[in-house]
Subunit: 375 residues, 4 copies
């Protein structure tokens, strides 16, 4: 693991997601860009001294020196955004499988370079768009893709939080600091941090491709160099319309990601804060509330579930489902066979690259006086 | 009453709202543009023959011939949109108080003429933006206006229905027919029919004024001459941002009007389909669910409530609250005194005119290649 | 109308329910047991002086003196409980149709006498168990009665309020005063006032008959002579089990009547505070949320609905549905024909009598050391 | 770990809960009563051969032979109920810390013997009443215990499921088989399996002690030797009343454990299926919805939470919180200091013994003709 030391948020989530099902174990790390903090964090996690590094290059060098059967099977990159590129590039070039947090990199050009490197190496590269790991998101995907909603007409996705409603970045909050710093976060704030999840959710569930978009980004908290609020009109290939809203200044909202997809035959509604329910509103009968763990769900949802219905699963399980797909893919490769689609069900690097493209296009549109910015 | 005969929808709602509190009685009408249907409808409502007219001009003439104490106190205009103007103009010019359905008229110029006429006559003129009659909308208005949300930053309003997801207008549905006919409905479809409610809700609760907007209207059901779906980015004077979505093709949605207003100190969330709840998310404490009928609500909400909390009130009560404000205003005038603000709490003709302006600006923006269309 | 003057609660609800659909009009009354308050209340409701009486006997005498075509079509009795019997008896004996609030009378013996009187006269006699007027309760009844839940196994009904969590009766609250006074309220407090609604709801929806019961009533607020909280175990004929809970001391609860009926093929869940939704949980598929106004509902629910789905109807509409059934029955009789079941869909005097029996049995059980008290 | 092999349900939950936070590791086991299945299950979990036993006695013997620093720190007993006693007794007598599933044992006498053994050994003994591990249950406990609800008057707890609505035990379902077999499950079915959770939830949150109870247990699915449905009236010391309902035949219900506690100053409502919300209804202000992860929660709830609010945690996290308390207690003992109350926050053997007593008293009451059975 690279990144994820003390004061980090998402690294601990990755570790719990990895540990949950007992399929993998953390054995080596460079857990912070501060060597001292890195080692201290590693010790707290019982890393062996010889595999607890102060720098990610040292980790990589050490791994390469080890015989293949002792090496890590994959690396998780959970640093702030600006480090994704150099770390990922180095590990991919060295032939390691990679799990990388989102947004993948800062620019579409960087993303393309990384996609090319992965293609050359033929390695596994997952991007942790964790929300699509929820069973009921996979059920939604199956319902839409199988045509049960008919032709999609309208998609509304919102991802709203309130935690940046004040200038936390000026009060010593590490999470707020790097997210509001263009050098570390990239060209976008909220639209990169959470808008990219919203984009991925829409693409995963519907398969629709954005044709053009019209964005209005703003820094509603005075003095913030990056957007903390954005609204985007979407036009999809084939004629569907959409709206994407992402904001981190909605005081009192927690992690309110929600999706509505309307087609000629019905509508689906899902909310991340109640992830086990998927509402399906068919045009010709009563509303249906599909619940995780039910026997009548599709394969993808059933595979992504651990407990009987009514026993709440949450964020970590969804995250673990992304890892589960990665593990299955790695195992299949070790066994010399291609993984099945439902087995290796995780977001690929191409999705990460599309997400970076999305951020670029949104930022371009927001700066433009033209109504529509083509994809 | 003008309009509201057999096959009409909103006329019956007006009548129930008028009857509910026993403050007024329907005594005369011209209930349809078809004389025969008008009279038949009037008879079904026990109108006396002499006051059951086949044409609204006959109704007006008859009323003017009666001695003042026998005349109607006000007229309700509940026809399709294109008739609002001539009927309203005639009754206003004749000195009658008027309650008129929305959208007020087809063009901003017509609206200004009507506003001027009302100003000349000094009569009561209400526009039935009925959703702002809900007690918890009035509570939301009081919370925002009193500063308890701080400075408003973001407003999201959605009004989604599904009933026009197929071409009902081609299957003999009268409601669908006139709404999708530009001659009767005006320049807009969904954005006029329900988007105007959404605009009024935002303005009522927040008092914010739109500075510019960027709209994408579409007819997502093929062959429809007017929009059935629209999404609008909003910029308000003072810097707040917003999104307004109105659609009648969200299969399976019923009458899903919902509002979220976020300020520096908190967020309010309200849904028309659960009208008795208002969620208040303060920045410094747990979520609060305010319920209709509670003693800790403000004056406006308490006055607008009839039953103890937990005894559901609904759409008709909200509608009746608009009428209640009109009745109070008329009574105050009869008593020769000005009505208090909370007593005569109903949407005025100026709001109706602003709504028409909104529709015009949205349609103009939707046809424009420029990102922002000024108000 | 007898009762329902100033300071009363339910009288005004009856009047709004009567007025809502324009099918009947209040023309005469004796609105309070205080002659002065009665007349003052009548004037406020625009009763003609000659029909605004200070005493219910005067009202009855006056009506009998009028020619039949001028007489009231029916009388609504909305007094405190202890007056139901004398007033109802007198009007029934005089041949009037009656709508009477619940609980019907104080004792089962009184109830039987009244049932017999109504049978002799052949008049309409409705008891305003208003909650069964909700469309989705009627849908629940249809689902259960048609066998779609299979054999019923378990029924849980709760009716909880919080308004009597303090000794309001000692603070001048008229509603609390008579309800906590055995002379006016009868042998039971909460179990009579709201438990009787719960019993009626169960019987209406399921048709099950109670075989034996085991009750624990308590006055949880010190110094109260009647129960303010009760819990009852139920055994139904045929083997189903049940629990009925009624409490008026659940601080913060409003009017929380809810029903769950479980059968071999599915479960139904309904809550009065969200009356437009009926949850149906079939054993072999996803949960279904049936909503008022949907085309796929049964006849009884569709007839009981006024507005399209998503336009909230509430307590008054449900109340008005009871009156609508009474009006239909009276009209059918005037037309010399029997009313159809779905047309004259209202709670009869036999249900009122059963409710009184229920209260008696619960009180007896609560006082008994034996576990089961037979019906 | 003893039990929890292939086909088991709760064993895998224990393992995920143990793994989640990286504080402990499964190193030895006797995972089934079938030696072959035990070893096969252990291999699937990467147990070393020398610690993968076919029988729990072999596991115990082997551990005792190892030097203390190599021994397991504690054993988790996750077998069917009838094995809890012999396994627990043996490990306690040998000086091991124990985590045991509920219900603890079959009889109150057995429970007392085990309590005495633990007292003699001074070891840690936890009973996995996992639902009280939810942060918002701990918040509820803090609210009640701190007096913020005033004096408790009424408690209603329901735990309803539907999975045993048919005779699954006759169709090869292992979970259903042992639960409906008195030899393995004990004297009670649903009331033992899930009613005991409900009892523990009430006791944990309120601290109230049952004075007497009145139960009606039934086997509503024909042919079942143990109850699958039960309802119990409760009287608590000090005067509060309660109702406990537990059923496994509520078709379509999933894992619907819910609690309502009403006091003189307010009411709390919690539902296991939405575990992150705790509704608090104070008598003097609007409803409050407390959410997991909020800074204004009490210490116990904040310690029991891993992720920011709005990032759903679930069943496994609650389970892991029980284990977290056990780990803290063991660590404190290793460090030679007493653990703080909030640190070692887990259900003790005394709670397990009380739960067994509860089951006995409920079964006795259900068989009795007397209304009240004393505790």
């Amino acid at each position: 693991m690279v990144g994820g030391g003390r004061d980090a948020f998402i690294g601990a989530v990755h570790r719990k997601a990895i540990a949950l099902d007992g399929q993998a174990e953390l054995v080596a790390g460079a857990l912070s860009s501060s060597p001292e903090k890195a080692r201290e964090s590693g010790r707290a996690l019982w890393l062996a001294d010889g595999r607890n590094h102060g720098d990610w290059r040292a980790l990589l060098d050490d791994e390469l020196k080890r015989p293949p059967e002792e090496r890590i099977d994959f690396v998780s990159i959970v640093t702030p955004n600006h480090l994704h590129l150099p770390v990922a590039q180095a590990f991919v070039e060295a032939g390691f499988h990679v799990v990388c947090d989102k947004p993948l990199v800062h620019t579409a050009a960087q993303a393309q370079a990384l996609v090319a490197a992965v293609a050359r190496q033929g390695t596994v590269f997952a991007v942790t768009y964790n929300y699509t790991g929820y069973p009921m998101v996979r059920e939604a995907r199956e319902i839409v893709r199988s045509g049960r909603l008919g032709e999609i007409r309208k998609v509304v996705v919102e991802y709203n939080q309130g935690w940046l409603a004040t200038r936390l970045e000026g009060e010593g909050n590490k999470q707020a600091e790097w997210r509001s710093d263009p050098a570390r976060s990239g060209a976008a704030g909220a639209i990169g941090d959470i808008g990219s999840h919203a984009e991925n959710l829409v693409a995963t569930v519907t398969g629709l491709e954005i044709e053009s978009l019209c964005a209005d980004l703003g820094a509603l908290v005075p003095g913030r160099p990056l957007d903390d609020d954005g609204s985007v009109l979407l036009r999809f290939q084939g004629g569907a319309r959409g709206v994407l809203i992402a904001s981190q200044v909605n005081t009192g909202l927690e992690n309110d990601l929600r999706l509505r997809v309307s087609g000629t035959l019905g509508t689906l509604v899902w909310r991340q804060e109640r992830p086990s329910e998927l509402w399906h509103l068919p045009h010709d009968g009563p509303r249906r509330v599909l619940t995780r763990g039910s026997p009548w769900l599709g394969d993808a949802a059933r595979r992504a579930s651990r407990l009987p219905s009514g026993h709440p699963e949450g964020f970590i399980e969804a995250f673990a489902n992304v890892y589960g797909g990665v593990f299955a893919d790695i195992r299949a490769r070790l066994a010399g066979r291609p993984a099945e689609a439902l087995e290796a069900d995780y977001p690929r690097i191409e999705e990460g690259a599309r997400g970076v493209r999305f951020i670029e296009r949104v930022v371009a549109s927001s700066r433009s006086d033209a109504k529509w910015t083509a994809w």
